[in-house]
Amino acid sequence: MECSKISDFIMKYVDGDISEVELKMLNRHMLYCEGCSREFQILTEMSKCISELPEVEAPASLEAKVMARIKQQRTQASMLSMLMGAAGLFVFAYYMAIFAILPFFRELGTFQMMLNYGAYFLKLIGAYIMKIIVYLPITIENLLILRNILVRDYMNIMLLIAGGVMLLNLELIRFINLQQE
C-alpha cells in the first residue's frame, strides 16, 4: 500500500468519514510504516487540540455597543435623508415659483420689468468695467509697440512728417498774424 493512499485515509479518519475496511488497511499499514504512523499521530492530536481550544467569553457589552452603533448610523441616515428632503423641497418650490406661480401674477409685470432693466444695466456696467480692465493694458502695450516700430524703422519719415507739421504750424501762425494786421 502506498503512503499517499494512506495519507488520504488519514484525512478521512480526521474527517470522521472512514470506512471499516479503510480503517483496517490504515492500521495494518501503520504497524510497519513509521512515517505514516507519525503523520497520523500529529494530525489526530492536532485536530483534537484545535477542537479543545478554550472558548472565550464574548464581551458583555457587545450588545450595547452594537445597538448604539446601529442607532447612531440610523440617526446619521435620517439626518441625511432630512437634508435631501429639504434640498428637494427647495428645488421644487423654486421651480413652482418660476413656472407655476409667477405667471399668474400679472401685476408683477412692472416690477419684473424693472428688475430686468436693473439686471441689464448692471450687466452693461459690469461688461464696460471688465473691458476697461482687460483692454486698457493691451491698448497701451500695442501703442508702445507701434511707437517702437515707428521710431526704429520709419525715423526719416517721422522726421519729415514732424518737420512738415512744424512748417505747417509756422505758416499757420504767420497766416493768423497777417490776418490780424
Partner: protein
C-alpha cells in the same frame, strides 16, 4: 425573549430593535469566538464582531431562511475577518497569551503540556494563509460539516476538501517546525 430565530428575525424586519439585540445575545459567542480564532487578538475580535453584527443588521432583508442563521452569521463574520486579514498582510499581530480554565483530573505536568500544545497550535494557525486558516477554524474549531462550510465559503465540495487537506498538511509541517525549535512535545505524545 423566546422563540425560533426566524420569528426573531421577522420581528427585526418589522423594526423591533430589541429583537435584534436578542439575536446578538444568541450568536455573540459564536461570532466572537470565530473572529477570535481567525484574528488571534481579543480586541480585534471585539471590533470585528461589532462590525459583523452591524453588517448582519443591514443585510437582514437579504437573509435566506433556508440556511441556518448560524451559517449565515458565520459567512458574514468570516468574510469580514478575511477582509481584515487581507488588509493586514505583512504586519503580524502578537498572539495573546490566554489562560485557560483548568481541566479536571490533569496533573500539573499534563496541564503544562496541554497548554504548550495549545499555544503552538495557535501559533501555527496564525501563520496559515487566511483562506486555509478559515477552513481550519470552521471545521476543526467550530465543528462545521462540509456542507455547512460550502454554504459559508460558497465553494464546491472538491475545493473545500482539497483546501482543508492542504491546510492540515501545512499546519502539520508548521507544527513539526515549531516542535524542532521547541521541546518536541508533539513527537513525545503518546
Amino acid at each position: 425573549m423566546d422563540g425560533a430565530d426566524i420569528d426573531i428575525i421577522n420581528k427585526c424586519l418589522e423594526g423591533d430593535d430589541l429583537a435584534f439585540e436578542e439575536l446578538v445575545t444568541r450568536y455573540k459567542k459564536l461570532v466572537f469566538n470565530t473572529s477570535y480564532r481567525m484574528l488571534g487578538s481579543y480586541e480585534e475580535a471585539e471590533d470585528a464582531s461589532q462590525e459583523a453584527f452591524i453588517r448582519m443588521y443591514k443585510a437582514l432583508k437579504r437573509y435566506d431562511p433556508q440556511f441556518k442563521f448560524s451559517t449565515w452569521a458565520m459567512k458574514i463574520t468570516t468574510n469580514y475577518c478575511l477582509d481584515l486579514l487581507r488588509k493586514r498582510k505583512g504586519d503580524t499581530v502578537p498572539i495573546e497569551e490566554q489562560y485557560d480554565l483548568k481541566d479536571e483530573g490533569l496533573t500539573p505536568e499534563e496541564e503544562y503540556i496541554r497548554h504548550e500544545k495549545q499555544q503552538m497550535v495557535r501559533k501555527a494557525i496564525e501563520s496559515l494563509p487566511s483562506k486555509y486558516k478559515e477552513l481550519i477554524v470552521l471545521f476543526h474549531n467550530r465543528g462545521l460539516s462540509y456542507s455547512e462550510i460550502m454554504d459559508v465559503t460558497g465553494e464546491s465540495l472538491t475545493i473545500v476538501k482539497n483546501r482543508l487537506y492542504r491546510a492540515r498538511q501545512m499546519l502539520k509541517d508548521s507544527l513539526e517546525k515549531l516542535d524542532k525549535e521547541g521541546e518536541s512535545i508533539w513527537n513525545a505524545a503518546k
